[in-house]
């Protein structure tokens, strides 16, 4: 049952069969990704290689943000003599005034001035306007590297995440397309926007145009991810938005839009997206979407948090950071968390084994950034508020170091909570299971243990357990699962084989049997699958992370052992019951067989018995009739009357004797053993059959030994044996060809046994039949003449008496049956029954 398994039960490690939708082939998608990178890199390249580099950075309003240090460029510094300071506002560069540049953003400041040229600048400082000759510095290698670094760093995370999505992730549905669009657009916008103040290769209008285009893209993304919002409104609203955005973008490219209007676009894009995310936290949205929203919000918070914190908090306390560059780096390093969390939130179910690693990577990265931010802020605050020196800083740093492990554990749990909902405690589960399983010997107890104690810890709502039998699967229990038809079960489980022990995202299996199953774990015992444990919905988002799958697999192994134990236990019980039933049946059959044999013997007797009974009855009737006739005719004499009455009396006695013996013989054996004189059953049996023997002209020779020691046995059963043997002898001699018809019955004591011999002069038994004659239902007689039970019954009875029965025969020479019965031990004379004294035949 358990050992031979259905042929379809294998545990393959196959990839999930995947049928791609209408998606371009991989190399096309790779080309798109490279093109995207090339476009972004072009702007960086232009900014680093082409853009004029005067030796300082300007903001969008042409305010000097930073000046190159003199240490690396001593001669240049000496030539300029530091006429510019941070905060100076430049009004005119060469021929280009600021107003002109704002009007035509295609104009590049310092265009045409190369390294070493003198550019005339009109500068405004503290409401004082003056003109300087400024010697162009660059482009210097250091400045170019900085621009490359800044440019790449800001958009590369979005491009990487977008490319990962584009090339590797499935399902490739609307959400997929929108998320790619989101990432690539953001990357593009950042690549252009990073250098829009340089106004090189038209970056400024492009940046503004892209800012408008971000509005429909961002809103569209957040209307579809993580769950679809307002589907009907989308159909109308989105096309309008796209068209409007395209128009506005075009206006921006043509520089016809009001200055600064694009900021409104950015506000709408970011604010609207945020609002759309928050909407999902209001009631009546599925919990699964809520989980994704939490993760996305976490991404936004973690990406923006460090930067905002480092900017806002110091300014609140009016204590500038000691190392602004470090703060900037921390803020920049936090940016990739946004697309990463977005990807994780939406594609968590599809990441497979990478999911948990990705989760941990994000958690640790986020924690490191938060930790650094907090440390920087703490040190700054300490320095500002307490005017602490090195000692305090050291203490604070040490405190942070000590707290780090605990904080990290807490933070990981927080992220887990957001990603997985309830976090089951493996230790507790294993304890519970190990504690309760040994007592769950039957399946019901096991199911109760699983359903009531284990699964709730995982927040699992849907679950089912199937046991595989040879050609079918038996449902052991199911919770919150629709009933499946038998064929569906087999088909469904076959389908699940390929995806065993892996999370199944629901989208691509909808409609198939077991579409509800998110995870199928085979129950294995001795490397063979004996069943399937299926899991479906669970709080909050039906997702089963890898480490929980591992835990469930461990549990499944224990469940398999428990199930097998229960099966073995049940088999054992069933076996015991069957054994008992079989024993009972055998006993009943034996009793029936004895009875059947007796009836069979009776059957052969019935003819003679009716004959024998009918004869005296006929005699009685005849005599009474005759008396009446004599009386009517007045010829009734006393002598006649007396004679007739005496005859009748004798006949009644005769009939009574026949009936009594008949009754004694057919009486069901009570199994009472006692000391029996073997001559008694022999005489009784002969008495019953004598008439028949006489009818068949069979001569009887009796040689009954005198003073036989008693044997221990049932006189009734022994008589049955003798009847059977005499019956057999009679049947062997009734053939017309058999002329010498002699039945010899002999008893004698021999050693510790009493021997009975029943010999006939009949046709004998052929050698090939000889060893089968004691088998039940074996007969050489015609159908309807014999049951084939007589000798078998006799054999059983004699064996039961501790004796032996054997046969000695040859065709044509007659047959002799030898019955040997052990002498009754002298210890039990009290059991000696008073033997009924039958009439001598």
């Amino acid at each position: 049952m358990l050992r031979s398994l259905p042929t379809w039960v294998r545990l393959p490690r196959r990839r999930r069969p995947y049928t791609p939708t209408l998606v371009a082939p991989f190399y096309w998608r790779a080309l798109v990704a490279l093109a995207m990178l090339a476009v972004c890199a072009f702007y960086t390249y232009a900014a680093a290689q082409w853009a004029p580099y005067p030796g300082f950075d300007l903001s969008a309003n042409w305010v000097v943000r930073a000046l190159d240090s003199c240490e690396a460029n001593v001669s240049w510094c000496a030539a300029n003599g530091e006429p510019l300071q941070v905060g100076d506002r430049i009004l005119v560069i060469g021929d280009l005034s600021h107003d002109d540049a704002m009007r035509d953003r295609g104009q590049v400041p310092f265009a045409g001035y190369s390294s070493g040229d003198w550019a005339p600048l009109t500068v405004e400082r503290a409401e004082e306007v003056f003109t300087v000759q400024w010697r162009m510095l660059g482009p210097t290698p250091a400045g170019q590297w900085r621009r490359w670094g800044e440019g790449l760093f800001i958009y590369l995370p979005f491009w990487v995440i977008g490319t990962v999505l584009l090339l590797f992730l499935r399902p490739q549905d609307r959400r997929w397309r929108l998320l790619i669009l989101f990432n690539y657009f953001t990357a593009f916008w950042l690549a252009v926007g990073a250098f829009s103040h340089l106004q090189i290769v038209y970056t400024s209008p492009t940046q503004r145009a892209l800012a408008w285009l971000l509005v429909p893209v961002y809103l569209h993304v957040h209307l579809v991810v993580p769950s679809v919002l307002f589907p009907r409104m989308q159909r109308v609203l989105l096309p309008c938005l796209y068209i409007l955005a395209a128009v506005l973008a075009l206006l921006e490219l043509l520089q016809q839009a009001p200055d600064g209007a694009y900021n409104l676009g950015l506000l709408v894009a970011v604010g609207g997206s945020f609002a759309l995310l928050l909407v999902r936290l209001l009631g009546r949205f599925p919990a699964s979407a809520r989980t994704s929203v939490y993760l996305m919000l976490a991404g936004i918070g973690l990406a923006m948090g460090p930067g905002l914190g480092l900017a806002v908090i110091p300014s609140l306390f009016q204590s500038p950071l000691r190392d602004q560059a470090l703060a900037n780096r921390i803020a920049a390093f936090a940016i990739p968390l946004l697309p990463a969390f977005y990807l994780y939130a939406v594609y968590k179910p599809y990441l497979g084994r990478l999911e948990f690693r990705f989760n941990r990577l994000l958690s640790l990265y986020s924690f490191a950034l938060l930790y650094l931010t907090a440390l920087v802020l703490a040190l700054t605050m300490a320095g500002h508020l307490l005017d602490g020196g090195l000692t305090l800083s050291t203490f604070i740093a040490a405190g942070f170091g000590i707290a780090a492990p605990f904080l990290q554990r807490g933070f990981l749990q927080l992220i887990d909570q957001a990603a997985y909902g309830a976090v089951p405690d493996p230790q507790k589960i294993v304890y519970t299971f190990a504690d309760r399983m040994p007592s769950a010997l039957d399946q019901e107890a096991l199911v109760t243990l699983l359903a009531a104690e284990i699964l709730p810890q995982f927040d699992i709502r849907q679950s089912a357990l199937y046991l595989l039998q040879e050609d079918r699967a038996d449902l052991i229990y199911q919770a919150n699962v629709a009933h499946n038809e038998e064929h569906e079960v087999v088909e469904g489980l076959q389908g699940l084989m390929a995806e065993a022990e892996r999370f199944r995202p629901g989208q691509d299996v909808a409609g198939k049997p077991f579409a509800w199953v998110r995870l199928a774990i085979p129950l294995q015992a001795h490397h063979e699958a004996i069943g399937f444990w299926l899991f479906g919905q669970r709080e909050p988002d039906d997702y089963y992370p890898q480490h929980q799958i591992a835990l469930l697999k461990t549990l499944a192994k224990q469940v398999a052992v428990a199930v097998e134990n229960s099966l073995l236990f049940r088999e054992q019980q069933q076996y015991t019951v069957e054994l008992q039933q079989s024993l009972d049946r055998q006993q009943a059959m034996q009793t029936q067989l004895v009875q059947a044999g007796k009836l069979a013997s009776l059957g052969t007797l019935v003819a003679g018995i009716t004959h024998e009974l009918n004869n005296p009855l006929a005699g009685i009737k005849l005599f009474t009739g005759n008396l009446q006739a004599f009386k009517q005719r007045g010829q009734l004499t006393d002598a006649l009357l007396i004679q007739a009455l005496a005859d009748i009396d004798q006949l009644v006695d005769k009939a009574n004797h026949i009936i009594r013996h008949f009754r004694d013989f057919s009486r069901r054996s009570g199994g009472e053993f006692g000391a029996v004189d073997l001559n008694q059953p022999v005489s009784d049996a002969l008495g019953m059959l004598e008439q028949q023997l006489r009818l068949h002209n069979i001569q009887v020779q009796l040689a009954l030994g005198a003073d036989l020691p008693p044997v221990l046995g049932d006189a009734n059963q022994l008589e049955q044996v003798v009847v059977n043997l005499i019956g057999n002898a009679r049947d062997a001699m009734v053939a017309p060809s058999c002329h010498n018809r002699m039945l010899t019955l002999r008893t004698c004591a021999m050693g510790g046994t009493v021997v009975l011999e029943v010999a006939d002069t009949g046709c004998g038994i052929a050698a090939e039949h000889l060893d089968k004659i004691f088998d039940p239902f074996y007969t050489t007689k015609e159908i309807g003449e014999g049951t084939g039970l007589g000798l078998s019954i006799s054999y059983g009875i004699i064996k039961n008496h501790g004796g032996e029965i054997s046969v000695d025969s040859a065709p044509g020479r007659g047959t002799t049956f030898h019955v040997r019965l052990p002498v009754c031990p002298p210890a039990s004379p009290s059991t000696l029954e008073p033997q009924e004294q039958g009439d001598e035949p």
């Binding site: 003819a607 004959h611 006929a618 005699g619 005849l622 006739a629 004599f630 004798q650 009818l695």
Partner: protein, 142 residues
Amino acid sequence: MSQESEIAAIPGHILVVEDEDYLRRGLWQLLTLESYTVTCAEDGMQGWELFETLALDLVITDLKMPRMDGIELLQRIRAQKPNFPIILLTGYADLETEPSAFPYERCDLILKPFDQAHLLTSVKRALDSPGTESGYPVRPGS
């Protein structure tokens, strides 16, 4: 015990073949009372010997007897005198339920225990119907 009678055969001479002596006696009483001439035999063999020696009108015979049974006796009689009336007495009830199993004509089958009237009717009928085919005289002596 055989009991022969040489009384003139009116109304008929009947041979009773029966192995139980009380039945023989009873039948002899009954038939004698009805003025039949009755001869008795202990078994088929003796009956056959008597049949061959005596002039008989009817044989009443038991079916199961030692040495020679009723059927064999019947067959021997019929072989010699095909239309000779015979009444068979039997204790085997099977023959009553399966009359087709008994293929002999002009042969009454009477089951033991029997009614005197029934037997006498049967006897009367057997004796009254003349053995036309064989020309055997029903009443020898008449």
